[in-house]
């Protein structure tokens, strides 16, 4: 174990290498480009690492798939418009249960937007392509989590065989801070082995396709995938609960805004306010049971995200039936500081009860 000063992008690549990734494809796009550069440099020193800079994100996605079919742990990394193009490959992976791993550093959208920051690629990453969203999406809230989830993602992907994502953003990607790096064995993390889909030593030739002639055939395929996804969900979901037990208001936030909210909870608790935080780490599968349980005894929910409601939609879908009032801060393409969250919480308490929580 080491404590290193790293950006999120650097941490992600180190995590991928620690997890046993051997092949990266990519196309330059801010704020993700450095990932490719770090990998290219690592590949010069470690000849077991392979790298392909492709002509666009579509071929990056498909070349990643090709290598996965050969049984090599492969990944790509992109953002914004590149994420859009890579959905072509992700949807093939979704149909065929291929363990693609991709880092998505969210930037302002739609279109070229900004090269900087947002939480506006939740829809695209969780539900993109023309599929049903049978994908595993981790939302990192810090450079440290980018490292930790990088290691986790390859194992989850190869164990359950769904396209897997580490969702982050430009702020996390570029923030330089201290990260604890480690090898999986040091934390008793078992590495799931990759195996080839084609030219394995199994003898019989396999013909893999994603096109079906009859509606029924595709329908049954999707039902099969859904069953597998449901069955795996309990083992995959992750979340963080902060001071929920006696809280009267729970903040729902993910990614870096979850981190900002954690700071807000600390500030508010300092004033005696009974505030807690529920931070989903997996957006897909969503930790629905834990989220619903977290509502016990709560009077208010505050959603906060750097988007117009992409996270809100997922949360409300999963909390369906709750009678608790849901307030929100939706700030597309801009960050949300702890102070802003604190201010909003105080507004809520004032408008609902005329008094503050304490």
């Amino acid at each position: 174990m080491k404590r290193e000063l790293l950006t999120g992008n650097e941490a992600a690549i180190k995590g991928a290498i620690a997890s046993g990734a051997k092949f990266m494809t990519g196309y330059p796009i801010t704020p993700t480009t450095e990932m490719m550069e770090h990998w290219a440099e690592a590949a010069v020193i470690d000849k077991s690492l392979k790298f392909l800079q492709t002509e666009d994100e579509m071929s990056a996605g498909f070349a990643m798939i090709g290598a996965i079919l050969a049984g090599v742990k492969s990944f790509s990394a992109t953002a914004g418009p590149g994420n859009i193009l890579m959905q072509d490959a992700f949807s093939m992976a979704e149909n065929m249960r291929l363990p693609t791993v991709a880092f998505i550093n969210q930037r302002g959208g739609p279109s070229t937007g900004t090269v900087i920051y947002s939480q506006q690629e939740v829809n695209l990453t969780c539900f993109g392509g023309n599929g049903e969203g049978l994908r595993i999406v981790y939302s990192a809230s810090s450079g440290q989590e980018m490292y930790d989830l990088a290691i986790k993602a390859f194992n989850t992907a190869w164990k359950y065989r769904f396209p897997t994502f580490i969702l982050a953003d430009g702020y996390q990607a570029k923030t330089l801070t201290e990260i604890e790096t480690y090898m999986p064995q040091e934390k008793q993390i078992e590495i799931v082995e990759a195996e080839p889909y084609l030219l394995g030593d199994k003898g019989e030739k396999r013909a893999l396709r994603n096109t079906y002639n009859l509606e029924e055939d595709l329908h049954f395929l999707i039902e099969k995938h859904e069953s597998a996804f449901e069955e795996a969900s309990d083992n995959i979901v992750e979340y963080e609960e902060v001071q929920l037990n006696d809280a009267e208001l729970v903040i729902f936030a993910h990614g870096i805004i979850g981190a900002s909210a954690k700071e807000a909870v600390k500030i508010l608790r300092g004033t005696g306010a009974k505030i807690g935080l529920f931070r989903p780490i997996t957006l897909n599968p969503f930790p629905r049971k834990a989220a619903l349980d977290s509502l016990t005894g709560k009077k208010y929910i505050l959603l906060a995200e750097s988007s117009l409601g992409q996270f809100e939609r997922i949360v409300k879908y999963n909390l369906y039936g709750t009678k608790i009032a849901i307030e929100k801060i939706t700030k597309p393409a801009m960050g949300i500081t702890a102070e802003e969250i604190v201010q909003k919480v105080e507004e809520i308490t004032r408008s609902f009860s005329g008094t503050s929580f304490s």
Binding site: L52, F62, L69, K205, A207, R209
Partner: protein, 248 residues
């Protein structure tokens, strides 16, 4: 069934064809099916069935997903080449074929074709040129001839509207490495077609680099031509615009 003296019980399939998926789904008189048969014989003669991966594109080529007794993957439109490039990089001892049509290669996948050639990726591309988008009902393709009628050029392709037909091998020959192999052949010439396919795959086996074969093919259904007219259009009209041969 009693085997009579000299009874023929096996059809004339290549060994590398998967028998369970026959009769295949191609239209009667299809040049692409013919090319696939020739490809099958080429693979038989090269003896590489066990280390070969066959990738197919969308369009009529997706009908080949279980054509061969080979490890196969059907990819998205225009994306079979990068998929094979990725596979080859991960497993360099394999022999990979990216099989596609004029749309997958010259339109939606053109940038992948150009860049793969530029990189001299050690893959083999086999592209079927039947001057239209057949699976979807006969729309214009980059290879549709001037004045040729298709469903999206009902008055015939006009140069001032959609430009001139694309010459794939000629274009690639300008950007390739010396060690690449580029050829154009025709599915109705069994010998030439098999030879060119074998040379292309051999280029990959020898580790020299990128190889590409365009195969002119008949499409009677979308050309609305009878047997002889289909042969004429392929062997006379198409070869006039798309000369056969090897391009360096």
């Amino acid at each position: 069934m009693k085997k009579l003296q000299g009874a023929l019980v096996e059809p004339a399939f290549p060994k590398s064809w998967r028998k369970q998926s026959k009769p295949h789904k191609f239209c009667p008189g299809c040049g692409q099916a013919l090319a696939l048969k020739i490809l099958g014989f080429a693979i038989d003669e090269l003896g590489i069935q066990d280390k070969m991966v066959y990738g197919c594109d969308i369009g009529c080529s997706l009908l080949t997903w279980e054509m061969f007794d080979l490890d196969t993957v059907q990819a998205h439109h225009g994306r079979v080449l990068p998929t094979m490039v990725g596979f080859k990089l991960a497993k360099p001892e394999s022999i990979v074929i990216a099989f596609m049509g004029d749309g997958g290669g010259y339109a939606i996948g053109a940038q992948h074709l150009v860049n793969s050639a530029m990189r001299n990726d050690k893959v083999t591309v086999i592209l079927i040129n039947n001057a239209n988008y057949a699976m979807t009902g006969g729309q214009m393709a980059p290879t549709t001839l001037i004045s040729e009628k298709t469903t999206t050029t009902p008055e015939g392709r006009q140069e001032n509207q959609f430009g001139n037909p694309l010459h794939g091998p000629e274009m690639l020959s300008k950007i390739i490495d010396d060690k690449a192999y580029i050829a154009r052949t025709i599915s109705t010439n069994f010998g030439d077609c098999k030879e060119k396919i074998k040379k292309a795959i051999q280029n990959q086996i020898d580790g020299r680099g990128f190889s590409f074969v365009e195969i002119l093919s008949m499409c009677p259904v979308n050309w609305h031509t009878n047997t002889q007219a289909s042969l004429d259009f392929c062997e006379k009209d198409l070869t006039k615009i798309y000369p056969l041969g090897e391009f360096k």
